[in-house]
C-alpha cells in the first residue's frame, strides 16, 4: 500500500513531466518549423534584380552605374590606364626614375602575372562587360518599361560593352566573347577569334545606332548618343581596314552639325569642348590621367615624361607642342610631359574624361579616303586639323605648320596621316600603340628605340591567374606561363 502510494506519485510526476516536455517540445517544434522565424527583412542597400528592371528610373540607374564603374578605379583601362600604360608600351612616354609599375611596360617586358594587366585591364573590362550583359538581359526581359527609355538604355549599354570588347581584343588579340551572364558557360569559354569579336562589335554598334537618338540624354555629352556609336563604328571599320564603311561612318559624325573643332587648343579638353562626342563625368573629380601626368610642382621630376622622338616630330609652329605639352626643368634637364588635360586636382570639375572627339573622325576619314585613293580628300581632312593647330606667323617661324600639298602620292599621304595621328592623338586612349600595331610599324619603330623590344610584346600577356582558373584560356605566344 505504502509502496503503491510511492509508485503512484512517481507515475504522477512522470506523467506531469512528460506532459510538460511534450508541451515544450510542441512549442519548440512550432519555433523550429515556423519559417517566419528565420525570415529577415531585406537589407536596405540591396535591390532585387527583378525590381531593378521594373521601373524606368531604376533601370536607368543600372546604366548610370555602368558609366560610374568605367571610372571607378584610377588608371583602369577606361580611366587613364590605356593612356598611361599603352603610351609606355609604345614610343610616347617613359619613366625617368625607376618605377615598378611603369618599368615592365616601358621595357615591353610584362610578365604574365603582372597585376596591372590583370586588375586594371582584363578584370575591369570583363567586370563591366558583365554589368552590361546583366543590363541587357534585364532590359530585354522587362515588360514594364517605356519603349523610348528601354531603347535608349539598350543602345547606351551596347556601345559601352562594344568599347570594352574593342580594347580587349586590340590589347590581347583573341579574347572570350562574353555575351551573357551565364557564369557556368562563361567560366569555361575559350578565346574567340578577333575577327568574330569584330563582327559582333559591328552588329552591336549598328543596333545601337538604330536605337539611340542623336540628342544627348544628359548635360555635358556625358551619355552615349547615336553619334558616339557611329564614332566607335568608324574606328572599328578603320582597324578592320574596311575603308569604305569607315569613311561613311566618320562622315556621318563630321557632318552631323553637332560637333566642331575648338579653334583654341587649350579648350579642346575642357568639359565644355564643342569637339567632344562623349565624355565620362566623375563626381567632384577631374581626370585620373591629369593627376598622374601633371607633376605636383614645377621643380619635381615628372613620373612620366614624353620621349624625344615624339617631341621632335612636331613641326615648327605646331601649337600642339606648346599647348598640349609642358616642361619641368630639374637639375638642369628638361622633362616634357603631356598637358592636354590641365587640371591636376581640385574640387571644381573643369575637365572630364573624353572618350571620343571629333578630330579622330577627321583622321579616320583621311586614312580611309587615302586608302581608297581619294588622296585629295584625305589631305583636305588633314589640313583642317593642321589649320586648327597652326601658330601665328612670327619672325622666327615664317611658315608655321603649313598645309600639306594636295599632290602628295598615296604613301606620302598615308605617312602624313600616321604622323598627324601621332601628333594629334598622342597620349590618348592608346591610339599610338594601336596604330603602331595595326599599321605593322611596331617592330621597326620600337626595336630602334628600345633594346628590350620583342615582337611578341605587341600583344599583352593573358593574365596568368586567369589561365590557371580557366584551362581553356591559352597564353599568347612568347610569354612564360
Amino acid at each position: 500500500m505504502k509502496f503503491k502510494n510511492r509508485k503512484k506519485l512517481q507515475l504522477h510526476s512522470i506523467v506531469v513531466s512528460a506532459l510538460a516536455i511534450v508541451l515544450l517540445l510542441s512549442s519548440s517544434v512550432f519555433f523550429g518549423a515556423c519559417k517566419k522565424l528565420v525570415d529577415v527583412p531585406k537589407s536596405s542597400n540591396l535591390v532585387l534584380s527583378k525590381d531593378v528592371f521594373a521601373t524606368n528610373e531604376k533601370a536607368t540607374s543600372a546604366v548610370l552605374g555602368l558609366y560610374n564603374k568605367m571610372v571607378a578605379l584610377n588608371l583602369s583601362m577606361s580611366n587613364g590606364g590605356l593612356t598611361i600604360y599603352s603610351a609606355l608600351s609604345a614610343d610616347e612616354l617613359y619613366n625617368p626614375a625607376p618605377h615598378t609599375n611603369y618599368d615592365p611596360f616601358s621595357l615591353n617586358n610584362i610578365p604574365s602575372n603582372n597585376g596591372i594587366i590583370y586588375n586594371n585591364f582584363w578584370n575591369t573590362g570583363y567586370k563591366n562587360i558583365y554589368h552590361a550583359n546583366a543590363i541587357l538581359e534585364g532590359l530585354n526581359n522587362s515588360t514594364t518599361l517605356n519603349n523610348v527609355v528601354k531603347n535608349q538604355l539598350i543602345g547606351e549599354t551596347l556601345v559601352i560593352r562594344a568599347l570594352y570588347l574593342f580594347y580587349l581584343t586590340n590589347l590581347y588579340g583573341d579574347v572570350p566573347l562574353v555575351m551573357t551572364t551565364n557564369f557556368e558557360r562563361n567560366a569555361l569559354m575559350a578565346r574567340t577569334a578577333k575577327e568574330v569579336v569584330t563582327e559582333q562589335l559591328i552588329t552591336d554598334l549598328k543596333t545601337a545606332i538604330e536605337l539611340l537618338p542623336s540628342a544627348y540624354a544628359s548635360a555635358l555629352r556625358a551619355r552615349v548618343n547615336s553619334f558616339t556609336a557611329r564614332s566607335l563604328l568608324a574606328r572599328v571599320y578603320l582597324y578592320k581596314r574596311d575603308w569604305n564603311n569607315a569613311e561613311i561612318e566618320s562622315t556621318g559624325v563630321i557632318s552631323s552639325g553637332i560637333y566642331s573643332l575648338e579653334s583654341e587648343l587649350n579648350k579642346t579638353f575642357t568639359s565644355s569642348s564643342k569637339e567632344t562626342i562623349w565624355q565620362v563625368v566623375r563626381e567632384n573629380l577631374n581626370t585620373a590621367e591629369a593627376a598622374v601626368l601633371i607633376p605636383v610642382s614645377a621643380t619635381v621630376l615628372p613620373g612620366l615624361a614624353l620621349r624625344e622622338n615624339l617631341l621632335n616630330s612636331f613641326e615648327l609652329g605646331d601649337q600642339r607642342k606648346s599647348r598640349w605639352t609642358a616642361v619641368n626643368i630639374v637639375n638642369n634637364q628638361r622633362y616634357y610631359y603631356p598637358y592636354k588635360y590641365k587640371i591636376r586636382s581640385g574640387s571644381t570639375v573643369g575637365e572630364c574624361l573624353i572618350v571620343f572627339r571629333l578630330a579622330e573622325q577627321y583622321l579616320i576619314r583621311a586614312e580611309a579616303r587615302a586608302e581608297q585613293g581619294d588622296l585629295r580628300g584625305a589631305v583636305l581632312d588633314l589640313n583642317i586639323l593642321r589649320t586648327r593647330s597652326r601658330a601665328p606667323v612670327t619672325a622666327e617661324i615664317s611658315n608655321p605648320l603649313p598645309d600639306l600639298s594636295l599632290d602628295l602620292v598615296k604613301s606620302s599621304v598615308l605617312d602624313a596621316v600616321y604622323k598627324e595621328r601621332s601628333n594629334e592623338l598622342f597620349c590618348e586612349w592608346g591610339h599610338r600603340w594601336f596604330d603602331l600595331k595595326r599599321t605593322a610599324m611596331a617592330n621597326a619603330v620600337l626595336s630602334k628605340l628600345k633594346p628590350t623590344w620583342k615582337a611578341y610584346a605587341q600583344l599583352y600577356p593573358i593574365p596568368f591567374e586567369e589561365t590557371q582558373i580557366n584551362i581553356f584560356l591559352t597564353q599568347n605566344s612568347g610569354y612564360a606561363n
Binding site: N5, V40, T100, P111, F183, A219, Q333, R344
Partner: protein, 998 residues
C-alpha cells in the same frame, strides 16, 4: 501546490523510515549538504561493493536500500570531494561534502550546463581566471594563446587593440569563416570575432578586435568546446568549435572589497635592423655597378643629389618607443546563502611604441546577481556588463615605413614636413613617414551584455528554465587627415572618414530539464528552443575637400560628402535536446540533437538537423582495474561522433541583387550587380569523431589526456573561383569537397612536489594537427587545379624549387623542370606546407611559502615566410628604399656562395626578374619559423603574518608579470608569428602590480 508537494514528500520519507527500521536489508535516508548547509542536488550515493545506488533530489535528500544494516556510504557530486561515511540504523543522515580541490572534479562549463572533467563525455579545454590574471593583456583571447590543445590563436599585429585569429582544430572550411562561436554567459557575442572598426586604422587588415571591449579580469573561466559531443548542440553554429566565456559571480559571506592594479611598459620584440646611410649608399652604388648602368640625376638622385651624411634610424624613430600600461580593477562582493552579488569595475590603458600621443583605454563595469528562493525552487542569475573602449591609435601602421631611405630629408628648413628633395617627389612607395603620425584616428566602442537565467522547479526533477540575453556592440570612429598628413602629390584637400556601426543581438531560449534516477543510474534530459536575432546597421561617411584643418571633425564643413550605409538582419531558430545517462558514475552516454534554421539560406534550404553521441567509461572504477592497477587513480575512455554545421557566409547571399555604386553619375543614383548569386546555397556540414583516454596516476598527481580527433567537413560552402571573364572572381556555392582535420592532442598535468612550503607543478599541452583535402570532384580541370592538392593540407602551395645564388653570375636560380628555358607554372613542383607541424604550451608553477613563480612557454613548429618574401616586392638596390642589414651578405663577385643575389638597380637588370618575379613563386621565401616564446613569467608574493590581520586585510599581494619576454627561434626575419617586417610585431610587456582584498 508547492506546500502540498512538500507534505507528500515528507510523508513518503516518513513512511520510508518506518519501512527501513523494521528489517534488514534496510532503507537509509539522509540529506547531502555543502559546507554552508545548502542542499546538494544530484549527488550520487552508493554503497561500495554493492549495487545499491541513489541520487539526491533538489532538497539534497536521498533514500537508498542497503543489504546490511551497517556499512559505508560513498557520496560524490560534481565539484565536491568524494566522501565515505558510515551508516547505521540512525535515520536522516546529514552528510556534508567539502568542495573539491582536485582538478578532475573542478566544474567544467558545457553547453547549457555544467559537469566535471571526471564525468565529461566531450572534449573541453579550459583556461581559468587564475591563468588569465597572470597576463597583462587587454584582449582576453590573447590570454588563451598556447594554453589549450587544439586551440590556435595567432596575433598578426602588435598594434593596441588589433584582432587575433582564432581557430579550433584547424581550418575546416575551404574558405568560409573558420571562427568559432563565442558565447558570453549564454549569450552569443554579436560581433563574433569580426573587427568592429568601420574606419581603417593602424591595425590594418586585422582590424580592432571586438574582444578589446571585454575585460579579462571579469572572466571566471573560458571553456573551449572541441568535439561533436560538446558542440553538436550548437548545431549550425558549432562546426568550428565553441568558446564559452563565463564571468565571475559573487561569493556569499562577508562583504569583500578587492583592489588589483598594475602598471608597466611595453616594447617591440623582434624586428630587423636596417642599413645605415653608409651601407645604403654602398648598396645602391654597387647595384648600378652590377648592372653596368650609369647613375644619373634622374635615376639616382639619392646618390648624386641628396645629402650623403644625413641619417635617420627609422626603426628607432617609428617603432622604438616605450608604451605604458596601466590597469586597475576593483570589486565588491558578498551576500547570503540566498542572494549573492558581485560588482566590479575596471580600467585598462595603454600607450603605443609609435611616436606621438596614441593610446587605447578601456573602462568597464559589471554586476552579477544570483538568487535562489528559500525553498530552492526558483533561481535567478543575472549578469550585466558595460564596457567602453576608446582607441586613439594612428590611422596607419608606422612599421610599414621603416624601409625609407636613411638619409631622407624629413623636414623643410621651417620645420614643416618635407616632400621633395632635389627634384624627387616623395610619392608612391617613397613617402614622408611622419605624415602618417598626423593622421588621427579615434574609435569609441561600447559593449553591453546582459544575460538573465530564470529557473523554476515545477516538480521534483523537472525544471523549467528560460535564458534570455541581449548583447549590443556599438562603435563610432573617425580618421581625420589634416593637410599635414597628406602627400601634396595626391592633390587631396584635407579629408575625414567617419564610421558608425551598431550590432544588436538578442536570444531567447526556453528549456526544460528533467533529472531522474532510473534504475542504478541517473538520467538527465534537456529540451530547449532557441530564437536568435542579430541586426546590424552601419554608416560610413567620406568627407572630402575641407578648405582647412580647423573643422575636420565637422561633416558640414566638408566640400564633398559621400555617404554609404548598410544594414542586415540574421535570424536563427532551433530546437534542441540532450539526453544523458550516467550509470554509477562509471558508464556515461550523452545524446544531443538539434534542428536548425538560418536566414542565410534560401527557401527550402533553411533547416537542417545535427546530432551527436558521446560515451565515456571510467574504467578505473571497475574493481578488476582497481585491484590489478592500484597506482591508476583515474582512467577514462571516451569517444564521440556527431555533426554540426557552418553558416558563416554572410547574409542575403542566395538572392539575386543589385547594390548602389559608391558615387552617383551626374547626380543620378547608380546601381551595380552585387555578386553572382546562387539560390541553392545550403549548410556546410562537419562530422567530428574523437577518441580519448584520460589517465590519472599516483593519486592523480599526474593526469594525462590523450585525444585523437578526426573532423571531416563536406558540402563545403566555397567562393568557387571563377575567371573574371564571368564578371566576378567567384561564386558562393556548395561543393562536394571533403576536408579532413585530424590530430593528436596531449595534455599532461604533473604535481612533482607538493609540500607545505614548497610545490612544483606543470601543465603541458601539445597539438599535432593534420589537414588533408580528401575529396575534390574534378579538381584537375577546376579553377583550383593549381591551388589545392588531393591528399595534401589546404595550406599547401606549389612553388619553384630554389637552387640558390649562382656563384658565377650572382643571380637567383631555380629548377627549370621541363627544361624549356623559362621559369613558369610548369616548373612549380615543390610542395610547401605552412600548416604548423605541432604547437603547444608549457606552464611551470613553483610556490615557496607566499612566493609563487609561473613560467609559461608557447612553442610552435612551422614553416613560414622569411625576410626574402618582402625582397620580391622591394628588390635590394632598386629604387630608393632601404633594406634590412641581412642584405649585406649578398653576392659580390664570382665565386661568392651566398643566399642573397647581387644588388640590382634597373628594371632591365638580369637580376630584376629573378628577384621581382620568380623569387616570390619559389620555396626560397619559406623557411623554418618555429619558435619557443617565453610568453609569460609571473612572480607573485602574498604576504602573511599577523600584521595582515591587524590591518584587517584578507589578502595582500605584490606581483611582477612579463609577457612575450623573449623568443627563441632560428627564424630568418622579424617576428616568427607575424612573419612580416612591415607589421608591428607583438610587444613585450613588463608590469608590476598589487592586489588587496579586505
Amino acid at each position: 501546490m508547492k506546500k502540498t508537494i512538500k507534505i507528500i514528500v515528507m510523508a513518503v520519507l516518513c513512511l520510508n523510515f518506518q519501512v527501513m527500521s523494521q528489517s534488514v536489508p534496510i532503507q537509509i535516508t539522509g540529506t547531502v549538504l555543502d559546507k554552508l548547509g545548502k542542499p546538494i542536488a544530484g549527488a550520487n550515493v552508493g554503497i561500495p561493493l554493492s549495487k545499491a545506488f541513489a541520487a539526491t533530489d533538489s532538497y539534497g535528500k536521498f533514500t537508498i536500500r542497503a543489504d546490511q544494516s551497517t556499512g559505508e556510504l560513498m557520496v560524490s557530486s560534481i565539484g565536491y570531494k568524494t566522501t565515505k561515511i558510515a551508516y547505521g540504523p540512525k535515520p536522516n543522515l546529514q552528510i556534508i561534502l567539502e568542495e573539491s580541490t582536485g582538478s578532475l572534479d573542478e566544474v567544467v562549463v558545457i553547453a547549457y550546463g555544467k559537469t566535471t572533467r571526471r564525468l565529461n563525455t566531450g572534449s573541453v579545454g579550459q583556461v581559468s581566471a587564475a591563468e588569465i590574471a597572470l597576463q597583462p593583456v587587454s584582449n582576453p583571447l590573447s590570454a588563451l594563446q598556447g594554453r589549450v590543445a587544439g586551440l590556435s590563436i595567432t596575433q598578426n599585429s602588435g598594434i593596441n587593440g588589433a584582432g587575433v585569429k582564432v581557430q579550433i582544430r584547424g581550418q575546416a572550411s575551404l574558405m568560409q569563416g573558420s571562427d568559432p562561436l563565442f558565447i558570453i554567459d549564454g549569450v552569443p557575442f554579436a560581433s563574433g570575432n569580426s573587427s568592429i572598426n568601420s574606419v581603417t586604422n593602424a591595425t590594418g587588415t586585422a582590424g580592432i578586435s571586438p574582444f578589446s571591449t571585454v575585460n579579462p579580469a571579469d572572466i571566471e573561466s573560458v571553456e573551449v568546446l572541441k568535439d561533436a559531443d560538446a558542440t553538436s548542440i550548437y548545431g549550425s553554429r558549432g562546426a568550428n568549435g565553441v568558446i564559452l566565456i563565463t564571468t565571475k559571480k559573487g561569493v556569499s559571506g562577508k562583504t569583500r572589497f578587492s583592489l588589483n592594479g598594475y602598471s608597466g611598459f611595453s616594447q617591440v620584440t623582434r624586428t630587423m635592423d636596417m642599413l645605415n646611410t653608409q651601407d645604403y649608399l654602398m648598396m645602391r652604388k654597387e647595384a648600378f655597378k652590377n648592372d653596368g648602368a650609369a647613375m644619373t640625376n634622374a635615376n639616382a638622385p639619392d646618390l648624386l643629389l641628396w645629402d650623403q651624411n644625413r641619417y635617420t634610424d627609422f626603426k628607432k624613430l617609428l617603432v622604438g618607443g616605450t608604451a605604458k600600461t596601466n590597469d586597475w580593477q576593483a570589486s565588491v562582493s558578498g551576500g547570503n546563502e540566498n542572494t549573492r552579488f558581485l560588482f566590479s569595475s575596471g580600467y585598462h590603458g595603454e600607450t603605443s611604441v609609435f611616436p606621438g600621443e596614441q593610446r587605447d583605454d578601456k573602462i568597464s563595469g559589471r554586476l552579477s546577481l544570483n538568487h535562489r528562493s528559500k525553498d530552492e525552487r526558483f533561481t535567478l542569475d543575472l549578469s550585466t556588463s558595460y564596457s567602453y573602449n576608446k582607441n586613439k591609435m594612428s590611422a596607419g601602421d608606422l612599421t610599414g615605413f621603416i624601409n625609407m631611405p636613411p638619409h631622407m630629408s624629413l623636414y623643410k628648413p621651417g620645420g614643416t614636413l618635407n616632400w621633395e628633395d632635389s627634384g624627387v617627389f616623395f610619392d608612391g612607395a617613397l613617402t614622408n613617414p611622419l605624415a602618417a603620425t598626423n593622421k588621427r584616428y579615434t574609435g569609441k566602442f561600447n559593449n553591453a551584455n546582459t544575460s538573465l537565467n530564470l529557473s523554476y522547479m515545477i516538480l521534483l526533477g523537472l525544471k523549467a528554465k528560460i535564458n534570455m540575453g541581449y548583447n549590443s556592440v556599438n562603435g563610432e570612429d573617425q580618421a581625420l587627415n589634416p593637410s599635414t598628413s597628406i602627400n601634396p602629390n595626391s592633390g587631396n584637400l584635407p579629408y575625414a572618414n567617419f564610421g558608425r556601426s551598431a550590432l544588436n543581438s538578442w536570444i531567447v531560449e526556453p528549456q526544460a530539464e528533467f533529472n531522474k534516477t532510473v534504475g542504478r543510474g541517473k538520467i538527465n534530459i534537456l529540451l530547449g528552443g532557441t530564437l536568435q536575432n542579430i541586426s546590424s546597421n552601419s554608416l560610413n561617411i567620406i568627407a572630402q575637400n575641407y578648405r582647412n584643418d580647423m573643422l575636420l571633425s565637422s561633416i558640414a564643413a566638408a566640400g564633398n560628402v559621400i555617404t554609404r550605409n548598410s544594414d542586415f538582419a540574421y535570424r536563427y531558430s532551433a530546437l534542441y535536446g540532450r539526453i544523458g545517462y550516467n550509470l554509477k558514475d562509471r558508464y556515461l552516454v550523452n545524446l544531443t540533437g538539434r534542428r536548425d534554421g538560418s536566414s542565410r539560406f534560401g527557401p527550402g534550404k533553411q533547416f537542417a538537423a545535427f546530432g551527436a553521441i558521446g560515451v565515456a567509461w571510467i574504467f578505473s572504477s571497475e574493481s578488476f582495474i582497481a585491484s590489478t592497477l592500484p597506482w591508476l587513480s583515474f582512467g577514462k575512455l571516451r569517444g564521440s561522433y556527431g555533426s554540426s554545421g557552418n553558416d558563416q557566409i554572410g547574409n542575403y547571399r542566395f538572392l539575386d541583387t543589385w547594390t548602389s555604386t559608391n558615387q552617383p553619375y551626374q547626380g543620378g543614383a547608380g546601381l551595380q550587380p552585387s555578386s553572382l548569386y546562387n539560390a541553392d546555397l545550403s549548410w556546410e556540414i562537419s562530422r567530428k569523431a574523437e577518441l580519448a583516454i584520460e589517465l590519472g596516476v599516483l593519486d592523480n598527481r599526474f593526469l594525462l589526456t590523450t585525444a585523437y580527433f578526426r573532423n571531416r567537413s563536406s558540402n563545403q560552402l566555397i567562393n568557387y573561383k571563377l575567371p573574371s571573364q564571368t564578371g566576378f572572381s567567384s561564386i558562393l556555392r556548395n561543393f562536394g569537397a571533403l576536408i579532413q582535420n585530424s590530430g593528436l592532442e596531449l595534455g599532461l598535468e604533473s604535481k612533482f612536489i607538493t609540500t607545505r612550503d614548497f610545490s612544483w607543478s606543470s601543465v603541458i599541452n601539445f597539438s599535432l594537427p593534420q589537414n588533408k583535402l580528401v575529396k575534390f570532384p574534378g579538381l584537375e580541370t577546376s579553377s583550383y587545379a593549381t591551388v589545392y592538392f588531393l591528399g595534401k593540407s589546404l595550406s599547401t602551395q606549389k612553388t619553384l624549387e630554389y637552387l640558390g645564388v649562382d656563384p658565377a653570375t650572382g643571380i637567383y636560380t631555380f629548377r627549370d623542370v621541363n627544361g624549356d628555358g623559362q621559369y613558369d607554372s610548369k616548373d612549380r613542383t615543390q610542395l610547401i606546407n605552412t600548416l604548423p607541424k605541432f604547437y603547444g604550451g608549457l606552464q611551470n608553477s613553483f610556490t615557496y611559502k607566499g612566493l609563487k613563480l609561473d613560467v609559461f612557454l608557447e612553442f610552435k613548429k612551422q614553416l613560414g615566410y622569411n625576410y626574402l618574401y618582402t625582397q620580391s616586392v622591394y628588390i635590394p638596390g632598386y629604387y630608393y628604399l632601404n633594406q634590412p642589414k641581412i642584405v649585406l651578405q649578398r653576392w659580390q663577385s664570382p665565386g661568392d656562395i651566398t643566399n642573397i643575389q647581387r644588388f640590382a638597380a634597373t628594371g632591365d637588370s638580369p637580376a630584376f626578374l629573378p628577384a621581382g618575379d620568380y623569387l616570390a613563386d619559389s620555396d626560397a621565401i619559406f623557411s623554418d619559423a618555429s619558435f619557443i616564446r617565453v610568453k609569460n613569467i609571473s612572480l607573485a608574493y602574498t604576504f602573511s603574518g599577523s600584521w595582515i590581520k591587524k590591518m584587517k586585510l584578507e589578502k595582500l599581494g605584490l606581483y611582477l608579470h612579463a609577457q612575450n619576454l623573449f623568443t627563441i627561434t632560428g627564424y630568418e626575419g622579424a617576428d616568427p608569428e607575424s612573419q612580416n617586417l612591415f607589421i608591428l610585431p607583438p610587444l613585450k610587456t613588463i608590469t608590476m602590480g598589487i592586489q588587496i582584498t579586505l
